[in-house]
Each structure stands twice: as C-alpha cells, then as structure tokens.
C-alpha cells in the first residue's frame, strides 16, 4: 500500500497534504492508498481526508502527539509503518517532514527520497525526480527495492485540486505506541514570532515586488494589489536586503521557494536567483518596463509597461468584482 502522512495542526489540515494525496493517486497503479492523520485528536481532519478517493483513513491519536516533537512523531510512525508495511510512505515536504523524515528513515533503515517534483511510472517501479544543486539540476532516482521507501513531495509540485474525491474510505484508528520517557524534546508553547511569520510556501497567490518599485514609499501600491487579490506580499532580494520588507518574505535561492497558483512579479527583472524560487508557480504574471527582462521568459502573462500605471489599474479592476 501507499501510506500518506497528512499534516494537521489543531484540526486544520495542511493544504500540502492534499498534494501528497494527488501524488499518491497518480502513482498508485492499483496499490491501495491509506492516509494517516497524527495528533492528539484528529477526528475532524480524518473526516475531511475521507472525502478523497482512498481506501482508508487511519487516525493515529496519542496525547504525546498534541505538540510536535521529532521523537514522538518518529516513534509513532515507525510503529505504524512496521504494522502496515507500506511499499511507499508519502508526505509533503513541509518543515515538519524535513525535520523528522531523515530520522525516521534512518531508524527504519529504509530509503528516503526528498523534495520530489515529479513521479514517473507506477507502483513499485516508480521513479522520482528531485532537484539538486539549488535547483540547477534535476535527478531522476529509483530507490533500491528494499522494504518501505519514504518520499516527500515538493510543495506545489502536485495539484491539490486534482485529487480524485468520492469513494468510500473507511475511517478507523491505528495503534500508536510511544514511549513518552524516550522523548528528548520539550516543546515550549509556540511563540509570538512564529505566529506572525508568513509561510509563503502555503500561499495560493503571491504578489512579489522587485527593485522596479524604486522606493519603500511605493510599497502600498503592491500591498493594495495583494489585498485585492487575497494574496501574500513577497519580494526579491534587493527589497528585503534594504529592509523594506522582512527577510521572511524573500523569494529565491537565498529565501523561500514558492509555488502558488498565481505569482505576480512587479518590477522584478528575473535574475536566476529569483527564478529558482518561483518558477514552479502555476501562473506567472510579470509586469516590467524592460521587455528584455528575463522574467518574461518564464511568465505566462507579461505586461511590458510602467508598473505605476499598470498596478493601480489592475487593482481598481479587481476591486470592482
């Protein structure tokens, strides 16, 4: 079987978990798919997951899973994997997965394929494509056929809206064994900074500004467009470097890698360092006065023009709706 590890926090599913389900459905080739929700109480999340066309939804509940610790998650998952013996364990390449997946793979002594952007073939013979060297190269790998293979899929690489729904998934508990004494981490309550931090990788729409905005005073222009679109604001390196926006909003090789449905690049020339962070976006709209700017090479829609004219017009049009 293929076992998907869904990620939820306080009953709210991580959107990327749906992408993992889409990836599993694509590669299943007749293998049954199971989805595992882990947490202290995961009933709501399980109900939501059961809408997908999968064989079963497993609820792995344990008090020690209420707040994330790598030890508890690794112990719980190791137990489930040993019980269910899935051929593939699939999850989204979230911060959480990045944290525990290597330890889990090492404990189980199985292969780990991370940050997968494409899957070829089906079932046990599937191959996985993943970026190397900051996205400059991609490698296609086939894990050695020894036991379970753990796979994490890059956020945005598979489409959540392509998940086949319907079906009649059974929902049932799975036994979770955690030796609480062996948990070495003591999580503190999530602190303020983390609450404010934006996770751009989760945004469905992004408006990003580059040096073409010329001055911090012009940022409201982009903010208004973002608001009208329901988008997060992001930026290329020079903007964050000048302190006009916080570093956590930086997209590119030295910032975040994002893949929203819509990415609007305002006054961004498209240096390769920026492109590697956003080229996976589904639809890229570029507004730049330089028709030769490399951003237009990746843009689906390009407007060669002055962003100070185009953006207000665009915002006004969006606000009408």
């Amino acid at each position: 079987m293929i076992l998907i590890v869904a990620e939820q926090r306080n009953g709210v599913l991580n959107r990327a978990s749906w992408e993992a389900i889409a990836a599993a459905q694509q590669m299943a080739g007749g293998m049954p798919i199971g989805v595992l929700a882990l947490g202290a109480s995961v009933g709501d999340a399980a109900k939501e997951l059961a809408q997908a066309d999968v064989a079963e939804v497993l609820t792995g509940e344990h008090a020690a899973l209420g707040q994330y610790t790598p030890d508890a998650f690794t112990m719980a998952l190791k137990g489930v994997i040993e019980q269910k013996k899935p051929a593939i364990v699939l999850m989204a390449h979230t911060y959480q997965a990045r944290d525990f997946a290597p330890m889990l793979a090492a404990r189980l002594r199985v292969s780990l394929v991370t940050d997968v952007t494409g899957i070829g073939g089906e079932g046990a013979s599937a191959t996985f494509t993943r970026p190397m060297f900051q996205g400059k190269l991609t490698a296609t790998v086939r894990p050695a056929p020894t036991g379970t293979v753990i796979v994490t899929v890059q956020i945005g690489a598979f489409r959540a809206d392509k998940v086949r729904r319907g079906g009649s998934a059974s929902v049932g508990p799975v036994e979770i064994a955690i030796d609480t004494a062996a948990i070495r981490q003591q999580p503190e309550a999530p602190f303020q900074e983390a609450k404010q931090a934006v996770d751009l990788s989760q945004a469905e729409r992004i408006v990003a500004v580059g040096r073409g905005i010329t001055s911090q005073d012009n940022l409201p222009l982009a903010q208004n467009l973002a608001k009208a679109m329901g988008a997060e604001l992001a930026a290329s390196r020079p903007i964050c470097d000048s302190g006009w926006l916080p570093m956590e909003r930086q997209v590119g090789s030295s910032g975040q890698t994002v893949a929203p449905r819509v990415y609007v690049a305002l006054g961004i020339s498209g240096a390769i360092q920026h492109l590697v962070g956003m080229k996976g976006s589904r639809t890229i709209v570029a507004i730049n006065k330089d028709a030769d700017a490399p951003i237009f090479e990746v843009a689906d829609y390009g407007i060669v023009g002055d962003l100070f004219e185009v953006v207000p017009a665009l915002t006004a049009e969006l606000e009408k709706k």
């Binding site: 060297f133 900051q134 400059k136 010329t214 001055s215 390196r237 020079p238 470097d241 000048s242 570093m247 930086q250 090789s253 030295s254 910032g255 240096a271 390769i272 360092q273 590697v276 490399p294």
Partner: protein
C-alpha cells in the same frame, strides 16, 4: 556566553594544498619519531574540503611525489596527463599559433586536475591520519601576546545583520597553538594582518596580483582531445594589460575555461568579466563552447609577484605558507606544487620547534633556510623579475622573459614595481575630456547562452551565505560618492566578478554604495584592487561562500 579555548601543538589555518600538505607532513614526522603524538588542528572556512578552492589547473606532480609517493594507488584524482600544449596569440578575429611552445609552458609529465577534487582527496588523507579537520570555521583574528603569535580566534556564529546576537549566537573559539601555520590563501585576511603587525613586507617588493575567472563547461563530444592544454595571449586584452586565457580539455567532454587579468591595469573602466565574455565570443573559444552548457563559475585572485615579493615568512609562533606567502610561478602559471612544498617545509620547521619546546623567531627562521635550499628557490629565483617586466607592456614582458630564460635570471639590478592598485589611472588622466559614457557594453555581449551577466554567473558558483549577518566586506571610509565616483567611476562595480558592489541612484540623493555581501565568491579582488584601499575582506560566518565542486 563564555568563549571556549582549545589548546593544540600545531594549528594550521586553511585547508588548501599548503595547509593539508603541512598536516600530512606533520603526521609523517610524528610517526617517524614515535612517542607522544602532537595535537594538530586544521581550520577551513568552507563547509567542506575543497568547496572554496579554484584553479586551472595543471599540476606539476613533483611535490606530490615527495609527500605521497604512492599517490596513484591511493587514488589521487588526476583527471588526465597533459597530452599537448598550444599557445596562441589572439587578435579580435584571428589566432596565431606559436610554432614553438615556450619552455615554461611545456607541460609534459604534468596532470590536469580539478583542484577542488584534489583538495578533497588530500583532506581524506589528512583525516585518515586522525588529524582534526574543522570545516566551516574561519580564522577571524590572530591572537598574540604582544610579541608572539599564540593562535587564532574563529569567527562568531549567529550575529545578526546589525551586530545583534541572534538566538543561535555562539562566540568563536580561541585556538591556542605553540606554532600556527598560516595557509589562508591569496591575500589571506590573517596573513594580511600579520604582515601589517609584524612588518613582514619591509624591504620586499609589493605583492602583485591577478584575478582569474573560470567556468566549467560540458561540451558536445568530439570537439577537443582530452589532455589538450591551451594558453592564449593578446585579445581581449590590450598591450598594456597583463593576462591571458587557459583552456583545458578534461575527460568526459568537460572544458575548463579561464581568464586571468593582472590586477595592475590602468584603465579605470576595465572589467575582467567583460573581457572574459569577449574571449568567449572569440572564434577559438566560441567554437568549443557552442551548444554546450555552463556547469560552474568562479573567481579567485592569484599572487603573481614572485620571489622578490614573498614576505618574511616567520615570526615568533607563526609561519606562512602557500598562496598566502605568494608561492607561485607566474611564468609557468603554476603554484600548487610550490604551495605544497612550502607547507611541507613549514611543517618540518614547526615540528622541530615544538619538539625542542622553542617556537621563537630564531628557531622558526630555519623555515627560510629550508626554502632557500629547496626546489622552490631553484624555480622562483631565476624568474623573479618576470612579472614586473610585464609592467612595461606585453612585448617588453615577453622579450624580458626570453632573456631571463637565456641568462638563467642573471641580471644586474632587480626590477622595481608599484602595487597594482596604484597603477589605476583616474578617468580624467586616462580618458581626458572624452570619458566614454558607456564602454563597449557588456549588455551587447550577453546572450544568456554562452555569455552571462555577473549575477547569473554567481548563481553558477553555488554561493550561499547566511543572510542575517553583518556584511563581511568592510568599507572603512565611504568615499564612493564624494571621491571615487568622480575620480574613478566606481571601479568596484567592474573589478568585482560577483556583483557584490552596486551603486544605488535614487532621485534627489547622492549615489549610495550597496554591498551585496552574500554574492561574494571570496576572490579578494576588491581588497586588492580598490584604488583607495578602504575595502577589507573579512571571513563571513563559517561555511558561507561558493561551492566549487569540480573546479
């Protein structure tokens, strides 16, 4: 948070050919002697061995043979023996092949290598000896007790952009050693401080530098025989500029393509990267790389000055080896074997001093005697005036080189020279009233297929730094808008091969310097070539920098 201290017998700063050879030699001497082993530590600022090192490279295996006689069975990564040498003089559209390869450029018996791979392999040999090799730690500061070098302080971690301590803050470690061997490379930050503090360059000729830009290409099969070594003179440089290209055909359709420019050019608007792009458009190079793909990019300064510019290499508690000391033969375009040799000799000196319990200056002076009696002097002394002769132009340089070969370097009086940065002329001096608004522009050269802008090239260097840290390029006195702009037209914009320096022009404000420190590929050109000498390169937080796999 308290600072940790570590005590060792010998500390080696810099895990390049010199430092790693020193480490290996120490371990050999220790085995010969037996008894209580010395404690040895090697510091390397890169995250892994070889990540920050770049060279052509053609290796003269003489020192390697002495250091590791069974290097072949130990799998030294020698990519190919050199099969043939070509030397061309280029004009804008044509090439003239020299009928005879000048003797210093004959490479029979030498090997093409990737210095990065070679250093990785050396590091494996060092680690196999049980020596502590600390990667990701840069030597930030020399520790002295006033008269004597007592060790090195490594850089702090987790310092934020404005100097504040982040949650990950960890102060650097003080490593105390009986003898410290400084192998921090060309224009090493610690050696620079030592030269200043201990006046090591007194009565020496000023060091002369060049900067080399290099790219690795995957090219279509069948273009060039592996093992072919090509050097060029002339275009895209003018008679007044020193330098040339190297084109090394590696196995598996790899091409190492590089361009070296003397950092003593006069034209303030000269840009080594533009010259490199011009070279790539020349038929000789274009016909090789067309249809290929760029794999890596990098840049590094080279010490070109030769024997008379080598500083005093010893002081109480400290020795200098490798590129930091200027051990390079600019006539043969080789320095790896000299760096390794100097590292070995420094190790022998340090070993004797530690065993005798006397790391005084008098005891360490033996290092100089060893160098004088070694193949280093035999090789460097006869050609000591060659680079300086090129200061009089290409033709004079070539003629002088020939003369040196005939006479074996006998000459009445050594040639004098000035530091390269002082040869840069002001815009007014160089161009008079006709300062070109834009030089034959780089933009027209960039096709994004075989030629790129600097920022794109930087991407191919794999450079990454922790973003939240203070800039590691320190401009002591901002003279950008007040003096440098009007006088030289901001040459940092051009000599930096990695787009670190930018002048931001905002309406109603004077031009402002922006330092994109995280682009820095650690080549040191700015520290060397800035006409006001106000830029100081210091190591960024350990581990940051380029990733020169295969370079």
């Amino acid at each position: 948070m308290t600072r940790e201290t570590l005590e060792v017998d010998v500390l080696i700063v810099g895990g390049g050919p010199a430092g790693l050879s020193a480490a290996l030699r120490l371990s050999q001497l220790q085995k010969q002697r037996g008894g209580e082993p010395l404690s040895i530590a090697v510091l390397e600022k890169a995250r892994e061995a070889g990540a920050h090192i770049l060279s052509g490279a053609v290796l003269d295996p003489s020192t390697l043979r002495d250091l590791i006689p069974d290097f072949e069975t130990r799998g030294a990564p020698l990519l190919s023996p050199v099969q043939r040498d070509n030397v061309y003089v280029l004009t804008e559209r044509a090439k003239l092949r020299l009928p005879i390869v000048p003797p210093p450029l004959k490479n029979h018996g030498n090997f093409l290598i990737s210095l990065s791979q070679f250093v990785q392999w050396l590091a494996q040999q060092v680690e196999a000896e049980g020596i502590d090799f600390f990667t990701g730690f840069a030597g930030q500061e020399v520790l002295t007790d006033g008269t004597r070098v007592i060790g090195v302080r490594t850089g702090d971690r987790g310092v934020g952009k404005h100097g504040e301590h982040r949650s990950t803050y960890e102060p650097g470690v003080d490593i105390h050693a009986k003898v410290t061997i400084f192998c921090d490379g060309v224009r090493g930050n610690l050696t620079k401080a030592l030269i200043h503090q201990f006046q090591l360059s007194k009565d020496r000729e000023p060091e002369q530098y060049a900067v080399g830009l290099k790219e690795l290409w995957d090219i279509p099969p069948g273009r060039i025989e592996p093992g072919t070594v090509t050097h060029t003179l002339g275009y895209p440089l003018r008679h007044e500029e020193f330098g040339g290209a190297f084109i090394y055909a590696l196995p598996e359709n790899r091409l190492a393509l590089g361009f070296v420019t003397g950092l003593d050019y006069a034209d303030p608007l000269f840009d080594p990267h533009v010259a490199f792009n011009r070279l790539k458009k020349h038929p000789l190079v274009a016909s090789l790389i067309e249809g290929g793909t760029l794999v890596r990019y990098g840049a590094k300064a080279l010490p070109e000055g030769g024997w008379n510019t080598i500083p005093k290499l010893y002081m109480a508690g400290g020795l200098i080896a490798g590129d930091a000391g200027g051990f390079m033969n600019s006539m043969r375009l080789k320095g790896i074997h000299l760096a390794m040799r100097s590292g070995m000799l420094a190790a022998e000196t340090a070993f004797a001093a530690v065993c005798a319990g006397d790391p005084s200056e008098a005891a360490l002076k033996i290092y100089q005697d060893k160098i004088d009696a070694s193949p280093i002097k035999t090789e460097l002394y006869p050609v000591r005036n060659v680079h300086q002769a090129f200061g009089y132009g290409l033709i004079a340089g070539l003629m002088f080189s020939g003369l040196m070969l005939l006479t074996g370097g006998r000459w009445l009086e050594d040639l004098r020279s000035r530091p390269g940065y002082r040869r840069m002329k002001t815009l007014a001096w160089y161009y008079g009233l006709d300062v070109p608004v834009t030089r034959p522009s780089n933009v027209a050269l960039i096709d994004r297929v075989t030629t790129f802008d600097k920022l794109t090239n930087v991407h191919y260097s794999g450079t990454a730094h922790e973003e939240d840290q203070p800039p590691h390029l320190i401009v002591q006195t901002e003279v950008c808008s007040s003096r440098c702009g009007p006088e030289y037209g901001h040459p940092c914009l051009r000599f930096c091969p990695a787009n670190v320096y930018e002048i931001i022009r905002e309406a109603g404000q004077p031009p402002r310097l922006q330092i994109n420190a995280s682009n820095c590929v650690h080549c040191k050109t700015c520290d060397i070539m800035d006409p006001y000498q106000v830029i100081t390169w210091v190591p960024p937080e350990g581990g940051g920098g380029p990733q020169y796999n295969g370079m």
